[in-house]
């Protein structure tokens, strides 16, 4: 899925709980339907929790990739809540 070009990139590395999730959701809320958000995060709890919340909001998680250590890259397709 890495061939998808993200519309926007959000870096939430170093943020404490629950900001990685909150910032991602707020950003997605402001995006058009079908736009792709790339999220860079390093908080393992959020990596596991985020898929549940994305699903609830209707956003589509395209991929989750573990880069090095706890650093993850998520690609999310916005549902278009704007």
């Amino acid at each position: 899925m890495t061939d998808v070009t993200p519309t926007k990139t959000l870096d939430v590395c170093g943020k404490i709980c629950p900001y990685p999730d909150m910032n991602t959701m707020t950003t997605l809320k402001k995006m058009e339907k079908g736009e792709i958000l790339e999220v860079l995060l390093d908080y393992p709890l959020s990596v596991e929790r985020m898929p549940r919340n994305l699903k609830k909001q209707g956003h589509k998680l395209l991929s989750t990739e573990q880069l090095d250590g706890p650093n993850h890259r998520m690609l999310i397709e916005a549902y278009g809540l704007k």
Partner: protein
């Protein structure tokens, strides 16, 4: 030494499980209102049920004698409410910030510094008279001076009430799960049944081992950090107790688990966030010592012993966490 070494052993297992299971009561309570996500809440619930089974079997067979905390309604209400606010600021409950030290989360390191300092000045420093007076002024105990418990008020013995609650809860759960088609899905990591069961087993394991070291109680966090502070301030006089060893074990266990999962990394938030988590830790330390326990001492260890003080403290922790989450996260979103 001797008996306290088992604290290190239990701590290692506990820290490993907390890290792999992402167990955190702050997230559990906060997420329920903030994200309508109750997976961690269910984990806490499973852990309590498992402990209830273990504690009642051990109490019945004489392996342990349950030792509920006293009922200090004023100190339980105020202390635990402030603790609840503090853990939202700190970004984790007492056990959460402790295991995350082992993951390299610098925000959690400042949080435990706050917790240790806040706990120390309330237990042994200038806030000690305030805490002692509030506890004394709001104590209600049984006719024989014993701690108030749910089973005591109902005139039952501990095991009978434990059995009744287990049957009622399991039956209710069965019917709700059948009606709603309860989903149990795991995208990544451990699920809530696994984590909750393992945390419950650590609580069961801790009780007799801690009792053998002269401390007749299951798990606890805040008093362990205070013990470490005292040891650092006065290395010649103070020795590490079972809880102090437990804390060292949790940090090491979290570190090993994070290393194995390739999740260890020093993560440094902005300076202002470090101030926030430190301040949150201070409130947690003050609150936990005033109330006589943190989320582990009261909620995880005291509630399954039916201590009225622990039950009140548990409710107060949840309310404090909700109040702080509402002000910090829900309100700003509404203005967005």
């Amino acid at each position: 030494m001797g008996a306290v070494v088992t604290g290190l052993f239990v701590g290692l297992i506990f820290g490993f499980i907390l890290q792999r299971g992402r167990f955190c009561m702050n997230s559990a309570f906060r997420d329920a209102i903030l994200m309508k996500d109750n997976v961690l809440l269910k984990t806490v619930f499973v852990a309590l049920l498992v402990e209830l089974i273990g504690f009642s079997i051990m109490d019945m067979t004489g392996a342990i004698a349950i030792n509920p905390k006293p009922f200090w309604w004023g100190a339980n209400l105020l202390g635990s409410f402030i603790f609840g606010i503090g853990m939202v600021l700190a970004g984790g409950c007492a056990s959460g910030i402790t295991y995350r030290v082992g993951e390299g989360m610098v925000g959690s390191i400042t949080a435990v510094l706050g917790l240790s300092l806040g706990g120390y000045i309330t237990a042994a420093g200038f806030l000690k008279p305030f805490k002692a007076n509030l506890q004394a002024a709001t104590t209600i105990s049984g006719a024989d001076g014993s701690a108030l418990t749910l089973h005591g008020i109902l005139g039952m013995d501990y095991t009978t009430l434990a059995l009744i609650i287990l049957l009622v809860v399991l039956a209710a759960w069965y019917f709700i799960a059948r009606k709603n088609g309860e989903e149990y899905e795991v995208d990544k990591g451990w699920g809530w049944v696994t984590t909750g069961t393992l945390v419950g087993f650590v609580g069961i394991l801790a009780f007799p081992l801690s009792a053998a070291a002269g401390r007749n109680y299951p798990l606890g966090i805040t008093a362990g950090w205070i013990n470490i502070v005292k040891k650092i301030l006065n290395p010649a006089e103070v020795s590490l107790d079972w809880l102090g060893m437990l804390i060292i074990g949790i940090v090491l266990g979290g570190f090993v688990a994070a290393l194995i999962a390739k999740e260890f990394k020093f993560r440094v938030p902005k300076p202002l966030v470090l101030v926030q988590t430190f301040a949150g830790g201070l409130l947690m330390g003050f609150g936990a010592v005033t109330s006589g326990g943190c989320n582990i001492g009261h909620l995880l260890s005291g509630v399954p012993q039916f201590s009225l003080g622990s039950i009140l403290a548990g409710i107060s922790i949840v309310l404090g966490a909700w109040a702080a989450s509402y002000v910090m996260f829900v309100l700003p979103q509404k203005n967005d």
